[in-house]
Amino acid sequence: MNFDDTPQEAAFRETARKWVEANAPKELHAELSKSSLGRIRLAKQDIVDVGKAWQKKKAEGGWACLHWPKEYGGRGATPIERVIWQQEEGVYGKLTQPFQIGEGMCGPTVMAFGSEDAKRRYLPKLASGEEIWCQLFSEPSAGSDVAGLRTRAEKKGDSWVVNGQKIWTSGAHYSDYGLLITRTDPNVPKHKGLTMFVLDMKSPGVEVRPIKQANGMQEFNEVYFTDVVIPDSQRLGAVGEGWSVSLTTLMNERMSIGARLATGVPEIFEFCSNLMLEDGLAIDDPAVRSKLASWAVKASGLKYTSYRAISALSKGERPGPENSIGKLVSGMMLQDIATYAMDLQGAAGVLTGSDEETVQGQFQQMLLSSPSMRIAGGTDEILRNIIAERVLGLPGDIRVDKDVPYNKIPTKGR
């Protein structure tokens, strides 16, 4: 048992480290290091512009989407080399945020279902950041139950005409392409009537509107389709096979090993180390210590769980299912930590400005943003279902809509 690289891994790490050292935008280091929670904001520059420049440089150096085959813009790197790269890329990895959906979800789906032409057309530009992708799955009435989606695509000659609406689309406003799942046959059960397309986001009839979220920010979009025409050549997988195509996408969403999830633990620890309560420092209070300790062992548990997965990759094995717990644990923890920090602040905790006693409102912001951590990318409840069914082998839910034609499924609760 050790944390050491193998000689090959050490050599690879050295190469990566040197390249980052020579090429990274060091002027952004301090700013990127600071933004540990939530989305990245740079004071003077647009994250998409800076991100594109960094991604392009990486692509030229052979470090973009490095686990992809060379002919599609990657480096043919092994899974463990990808993890090592992420470790060495460090805080600069935050610059790749606009490309993560493309690299993590859309790219692998095109890789699995696209024609050779499609792969050569889309993947290298996706890898180099020249073209940004978004994922058009969720709808207002199809979230956890994404297969219940309503957006229609109807065949007209060699093309499809799309009408409907998607929601929660990160980056739709700056994306060039979208992975779009539609209903092509409402007369069969819901999973059987879906078809996947690659959508040119600049097509006529595509309208992107930002959503004002519960935390007051605007990070996601609604995307509306009015008679949008998509050539049949843009289809991924067979007609009616959209569900199995989407499973590839979603599987990749949950595969991000070694990704550091924000837990809030360093923040609450530092806060309690400095906060004076009536009887002294908060961290000297037994009740505070008990809370901190319980959160600290969750954070360390997640860290060493990811180390176990990395070790499996290092041996060329498939990591076990342990990594599926990451978002479930960290999402709830962020919310609890935010609530507790504000409790310690007492009456002043209600303030959300740049007040000294509330440490610039960082926990207030965490409180308001944390619900999304428990919903996006699979709700806590869906994640528990996945653990229960795929890891523990418990039966799937009894589905009352399984064999019912889509257009016979009730659409209203009451």
Partner: protein, 375 residues
């Protein structure tokens, strides 16, 4: 990175599991649970023959000379099987104290006897309520004799010898405390069994009256040695707790698959699935923290104090959580004496207290994290 047990160590785990499945069935555990024996003597003998008791004891002292990682994998299996033997007292506490502080003669006297299963050892630290603290040690040592009362002492009624924490000074500092080695069968120690939460591992009160004792380690070094012993034991116990948590989770999962209610498997209800998923989460966090503890223990890393506290907390929480919800998944059947759920519930809650309570270890973890942050 190779943050995993080696193939040999995994093989040892399989071997231990196979052995314990055969020799330590729930039926065998119940013999001790029902008070028909004070511990499973046959199993203890078997563990000695398998080389498990001395796995981390050097060969020169009669052990297998493997190491702490090997002991961790065996500990996990002991926890899974809910083994009714004085393994933790003898192997994690007494043997480790001897390995850390024993003279050559002391090691020669006791370690081979531990490895062969002839001697059962324990640590006599607590004096009534309270957590590990120099202040709570009142038992006095003077002129090589001990006077005072220790309770609870795990496996005290069946132990041949004890490592006893005693007061040798009154400065109010840690160096008031020294450790002593006492042969409990040589007179001067009166032992009384106490009833406790988990009858599969006994607890006792030991009254020392002018009891002859020899120092273990230097006079005044007791607390520093004890801290190291408790850290090591915290990691090893964490593996027992992880094993117990996994078993409780498995029992709950299996029952949820077998039991039908409202015309379907109860494991198809989300209320039950989510409870089991949460148990899996706790058990996974505990396992990962314990692996880190194992790494720190096996490499004598400077991180051991922090890693041990984290492993202890995480594993205590996980075992309590899984044992508690295993009963809940079983419903009424889980509350019968006949079903095995309560054996894990008892063990989980007894283990949560044995080396000091959860609150104590949470306090320790924060101290240790602050020390590291300051450094």
């Amino acid at each position: 990175m190779n943050f995993d047990f080696s193939d040999d160590q995994k093989q040892l785990r399989d071997q231990a599991r196979k052995f314990l499945t055969e020799k330590c069935s729930p039926k065998a555990v119940r013999v001790v649970l029902d008070g028909k024996a004070s511990y499973d003597k046959e199993l203890w003998k078997g563990l000695a023959e398998m080389g498990f008791l001395g796995v981390a004891i050097p060969e020169e002292f009669g052990g297998a000379g493997a190491g702490h990682l090997e002991l961790c994998v065996i500990a996990e299996e002991m926890g899974r099987a809910n083994a009714p033997v004085p393994f933790s007292s003898t192997v994690y506490l007494a043997a480790e104290a001897l390995l850390i502080a024993g003279s050559d003669a002391q090691k020669k006297k006791w370690l081979p006897a531990i490895a062969s299963g002839e001697a059962i050892g324990t640590l006599a630290l607590f004096e009534g309520k309270g957590n590990p603290s120099p202040k709570n040690v009142k038992l006095a040592a003077s002129n090589g004799a001990l006077n005072g009362v220790k309770k609870p002492v795990a496996d005290g009624a069946i132990a041949n010898f004890a490592v006893v924490a005693a007061r040798t000074g009154s400065s109010g500092r840690e160096n008031d405390i020294s450790l002593f080695l006492v042969d409990l069968r040589a007179g001067g120690a009166e032992v009384k069994s106490l009833t406790n939460l988990d009858p599969t591992r006994g607890q006792a009160e030991i009254t020392f009256k002018d009891c002859k004792a020899e120092p273990l380690g230097g006079i005044g070094e007791g607390w520093s040695i004890l801290t190291q012993v408790l850290d090591r034991a915290a990691v090893l116990c964490a593996f027992e707790q992880v094993g117990g948590a996994d078993r409780a989770l498995e029992m709950g999962r299996d029952y949820a698959l077998d039991r039908i209610a409202f015309g379907r498997q109860i494991g198809s209800f989300q209320a039950v699935k989510h409870m089991l998923a949460d148990m899996y989460v706790s058990a996974t966090l505990a396992r990962s923290n314990s692996y880190y503890g194992a790494w720190a223990l096996s490499t004598s890393a400077a991180e051991l104090p922090e890693a041990a506290a984290a492993a202890r907390i995480s594993a205590t929480q996980a075992f309590q959580h899984c044992a508690k919800n295993n009963i809940q998944v079983h419903g009424g059947m889980g509350f019968t004496w006949e079903f095995d759920c309560h054996m894990y519930y008892r063990r989980a809650n007894a283990m949560a207290l044995g080396l000091g309570s959860l609150t104590y270890w949470e306090d320790q973890l924060i101290d240790r994290m602050r020390k590291k942050n300051a450094a």
